[in-house]
């Protein structure tokens, strides 16, 4: 078997993998740092040159002794660029392609009252031209823009001044110890690469950069710098603490105390902790985040405007293909009747979702939204990322443009549906035609940047493994670090029905409760976790309130997608309130932003 190696394509990494590029026994993949980290997390490679922050998030990554990318002084390629002095910066754009640099920037600047905004490198560079703004820029774009801004703040220099230690940006990691011959292979590649630096560099500036700015030794000093960084980042709650294998008790206690969990720790809790221990830890987190003993719910209505859909997901019993006799698009008349019922019942919003119907263009949505807003004044929690992408494709427009137009027409927030499991191995198997994990996350990122809030969801229990569920949670947490745009998280298991072309995997109430409790523990930066009583039934929904949930979702007028898979429950506000109280909480009616609309009762 060939060794599958993944590495960052940047110039500074080149000496480490240059000699691997043409070997027949190595499959080398080059990509951006976050993508390399994802590949290692999802077992798409055996060893990867990843940002050290990504290794900490994994929790069980093994450091391979074959060099690293570090710096003892000015690194030139990890900098803050700005037109004003550092002290005057109020908003800082973060280039999201490297979490390590972003984390380093946040560690170094954590005492300053900065607002952080994640964006793509070119956006960040443009952003930094504005007044009182700056951008963390890394890698080749940083080198290309050297000297083009009035002020430069070199993060490696700042780290060196603060700690007297080198800063390690990236190192070789694997998910299990490598065979000695593979370690030798990487070490040799590094030795050859170091000798080839002059031929790798295209000019004198690059030559100096490779020889003077970047160090490739994973020596004791570098390891000490790495350890120090992990400690400081954990102290700032930016990374999970790196600790030797702890007892399950310690891990549970840490989780209950709200410390950040690594992916490996999450996986361990899901596999080894008992139902009660998970529940009690999640309950402790819930109590700390929501000390009022209040459980919220919302009066809204799920309206599925069309069932015509082109994705043919294997787990879906709701959709009809284009041209099918049972396909529908709701008329204004039908819709109006439904909306009036919501208004009459004291409802505050509608959840509007549908299939990917190629006949509906953006103008149709804009008209619809404007009509709903002017006639019914209801909040519009509408269009999951998949639908937004679909409209963007149909119109040949960017997601950003589509969202801006929809917001202008009345869109208030975005539901988190269609996330399923944000691991492409799973998505390819159950929803081939759907967007990739990265696309889903990037629609959410854009929506959050435009000021929209959204929920996040997870549907597990098809072909997904427990580890993939944890990876899903970690991806949500990572985006949330960046945007703070997610209001709440809901999960449910795949609702099986005959005729659907996916076999049910892990299911059942205990696994639901465990999964929800784990989500509460992993998602330390998401305010709310909701009990999905619509799928689990109101009984289990109630029990779930003791497993970390602080929200009971919505009153149901109707729901069509899950109910076509055979799940039907209808309960009104009085029954929801009774059940919340019977679980030992006070109930509060909320809006989509989780603001209280009633006093606790």
């Amino acid at each position: 078997m060939n060794l599958r190696v993944a590495a960052v394509g940047y110039l500074n990494a080149r000496p480490l993998w240059h000699a691997l590029a043409n070997r027949e026994d190595v499959e080398l993949s080059l990509a951006a740092p976050s993508e390399i980290a994802r590949m290692l997390a999802e077992d798409e490679c055996d060893v990867a040159l990843i940002p050290v922050a990504a290794a900490a998030a994994l929790g069980d990554a093994v450091l391979i002794d074959a060099g690293c990318i570090s710096s003892r002084g000015p690194v030139r390629s990890v900098v803050v660029y700005s037109e004003c002095p550092l002290e005057e910066i109020e908003e800082l754009a973060l280039d999201l392609s490297s979490r390590t640099s972003v984390t380093l920037a946040r560690v170094l600047l954590k005492d300053r009252p900065l607002r952080f905004r994640g964006m793509q490198p070119d956006e960040a560079l443009a952003f930094a031209r504005g007044p009182k703004r700056g951008a963390v820029v890394i890698g080749d774009p940083a080198l290309e823009h050297e000297g083009k801004f009035a002020h430069t703040f070199d993060l490696a220099t700042a780290w060196r001044e603060r700690t007297g230690l080198p800063f390690v940006f990236a190192a070789w990691y694997a998910r299990k110890p490598l065979e000695p011959r593979h370690v030798d292979l990487l070490q040799n590649a590094r030795n050859i690469g170091l000798k080839s630096r002059d031929s790798i560099a295209k000019n004198e500036s690059e030559r100096r950069y490779l020889h003077e700015s970047i160090r490739y030794d994973l020596d004791d000093e570098a390891r000490e710098g790495l350890a120090r960084f992990f400690v400081e980042a954990a102290r700032a709650s930016l990374l999970p603490p790196v600790s030797p294998k702890t007892s399950l008790d310690t891990l549970l206690q840490r989780a209950a105390d709200g410390e950040r969990l690594s992916i490996a720790e999450g996986e361990r809790l899901l596999g080894e902790a008992s139902l009660f221990d998970l529940g009690l830890a999640a309950d402790a987190v819930r109590r700390r985040k929501h000390p009022d003993d209040v459980v919220t719910y919302i009066v809204d209505r799920n309206v599925n405007y069309t069932n015509v859909c082109t994705t043919s997901c294997r787990f879906c019993a709701f959709y009809r293909p284009v041209g099918h006799a049972e396909g529908y698009v709701l008329s204004r008349e039908t819709l109006g009747k439904k909306l009036q019922e919501v208004v009459d019942a004291g409802g505050v919003q509608i959840l509007l979702q549908g299939g990917l119907n190629p006949d509906l263009r953006i103008g149709w949505y804009e008209d619809l939204f404007r009509w709903i807003k002017s006639e019914y004044r209801l909040g519009l929690h509408a269009l999951s990322p998949e639908e937004i992408l679909h409209i963007a494709r149909l119109e040949g427009a960017s997601v950003r443009d589509v969202l801006e137009r929809l917001v202008a027409a009345g869109l208030d927030s975005v539901p988190g549906g269609g996330a399923e499991i944000l691991v492409d191995r799973v998505r390819r198997k159950i929803a081939k035609a759907k967007c990739t994990s990265e696309e889903w996350l990037s629609v959410m990122r854009t929506a959050h940047h435009l000021g929209l809030r959204s929920s996040a969801t997870m549907m597990y229990g098809t072909v997904d493994t427990p580890r993939e569920r944890v990876l899903h949670l970690a991806k949500i947490r990572e985006l949330q670090d960046e945007t703070r745009g997610f209001t709440a998280f809901f999960c449910w298991d795949f609702q099986h029905e005959t005729g659907v072309r996916v076999d049910a995997g892990d299911g059942g109430t205990n696994i639901y409760l465990r999964t929800q409790a784990l989500a509460r523990l992993m998602l330390d930066n998401v305010d709310h976790v909701g009990a999905s009583w619509v799928t689990q039934g109101p009984d289990v929904g109630q029990v779930a309130l003791r497993f970390g949930a602080d929200d009971f979702g919505s009153v149901m007028f109707e729901e069509n997608v899950v109910s076509s898979a055979g799940t039907t429950y209808c309960i009104d506000a009085a029954e929801i309130e009774r059940r919340i109280r019977a679980s030992g909480f006070r109930s509060v009616r909320r809006n989509v932003k989780y603001e209280w609309l009633t006093p606790p009762s």
Partner: protein, 413 residues
């Protein structure tokens, strides 16, 4: 909370302890304690059986407020009494995959001869001689004794001669006269129910017991009920040296009140939280009863599955065609497949064991590698949790108010 220590030391719980447990706001801590006791007794072993329920008549002279099944008179709309052949046909139709147990409970029909019941039993045994007949609640036995002018012992002896093997636990409702007289005043009293079981135990029969909760009773009534059962069980099996007497209660089954179509239809049904709490407290109080059953028809299969970690070690059985709860609005299926029961137990991380009526192992299924069962998990922190934490007064108040909601509705004058 000292209760946790008391329970771990195997000390017997008092009336006050029982009420305190029902009032414990921390459901998970309570569940973890009950789970500890359950695992000490049974480990991961979780029982179910291949049974079928038959209700041969819904004609009934009693007028229980919680019942949506009984029709007061023969010939009333919806009343139905099976011909013997019809009842037997239910078994005959299932002989390709026969049940191990037939569970029969009925209305108190004033117009049938005693021989109807004897013949009913004989007929089933003719079709399948080794089928276990677990039939007639203590309330029916009491009714037979009065109606046909016999003692309990005579009734039981005659029925045993015809094929009766054990008694189901139905008809217990709530023993305390303050409650019982109001919800089911015209059938066997609590004492009479217990006396029937006492006689049955003395004859060497094994029986089950139930409690119908979540209507107008208080926590105190529930604890009183459990203590009466524990006291009777003591007579059979506790302390006495020498070989264990064959009779006694095998299993206790809490039954949730369902309100549809009966005399207490204004009451809300107890919620899942109450179901789990009641299972857990029952496990903790009934230290001399082997099994606590999460009857899936009562709570729904999903909550019954969770109950397997809150003290229950039995899911009842396949049942096939339940009608009593379904008359009261139960939305669960009328029967569950064998494989479905195995799956429910496995998903809860337990080992499914098909049993016969008397808890002899028919077939032990292997454990499978689902997340809960892949590793032997222990509740490390849960126990400690219950002891150390300051009580939340607000939570306790909320709990009490939610559970007394039923009483506030004052459906009964």
């Amino acid at each position: 909370m000292k209760l946790a220590e008391k329970i771990r030391a195997g000390e017997r719980l008092s009336f006050e302890d029982g009420v305190a447990l029902f009032c414990e706001p921390d459901l998970l801590a309570l569940g973890a304690l009950a789970n500890e006791v359950r695992e000490k007794r049974h480990g991961d072993r979780t029982y179910f059986n291949k049974n079928m329920r038959i209700e041969v008549t819904n004609v009934c002279v009693a007028s229980c407020l919680f019942c949506s099944f009984a029709k007061l008179e023969d010939g009333a709309p919806g009343s139905h009494t099976m011909k013997l052949e019809e009842a037997w046909a239910e078994l005959e139709a299932r002989m390709h995959d026969p049940p191990n147990e037939i569970h029969i409970v009925n209305g108190l029909h004033p117009g049938l001869p005693f021989s109807y019941y004897e013949e009913l039993l004989r007929g089933f045994k003719r079709i399948k001689p080794d089928v276990v007949m677990k039939c007639f609640t203590a309330v029916e036995i009491h009714f037979f004794a009065r109606h046909y002018g016999m003692t309990y012992e005579e009734v039981l002896t005659k029925l045993r001669a015809a094929g009766l093997d054990g008694l189901p636990g139905g008809g217990a409702e709530i023993f305390h006269p303050d409650v019982r007289s109001r919800i089911s005043g015209d059938k066997a009293t609590g004492d009479e129910y217990l006396e029937v079981h006492r006689v049955a135990h003395r004859l060497g029969m094994r029986t089950n017991a139930t409690m119908l909760y979540g209507h107008i009773e208080t926590f105190e009534h529930r604890v009183d009920h459990l203590l009466r059962l524990r006291a009777l069980q003591d007579e059979v099996c506790n302390g006495a040296p020498g070989p264990r007497v064959p009779g006694g209660f095998q299993a206790f089954i809490p039954l949730a009140f369902h309100p549809d179509g009966n005399g207490m239809k204004n009451l809300p049904a107890p919620t899942a939280i109450d179901d789990l709490r009641t299972i857990a407290v029952s496990r903790l109080i009934l230290d001399n009863v082997d099994h606590i059953k999460a009857y899936w028809v009562s709570s729904g299969a999903d909550v019954a599955q969770v109950a397997l970690r809150f003290g229950a070690d039995d899911l009842d059985g396949t049942i096939v065609h339940e009608t009593i709860y379904h008359a009261a609005g139960s939305r669960v299926p009328q029967g569950l497949g064998y494989d479905e029961l195995v799956r429910l137990i496995r998903e809860a991380g337990r080992i499914p064991i098909e049993r016969d009526t008397f808890y002899n192992v028919v077939r032990e299924h292997p454990r499978v590698a689902l997340p809960e069962s892949a590793v032997k998990v222990r509740d490390r922190k849960a126990g400690k949790h219950l002891e150390g934490r300051a009580r939340s007064e607000r939570a306790e108040e909320l709990l009490r108010s939610s559970l007394s909601e039923a009483k506030r509705l004052k459906v009964l004058s």
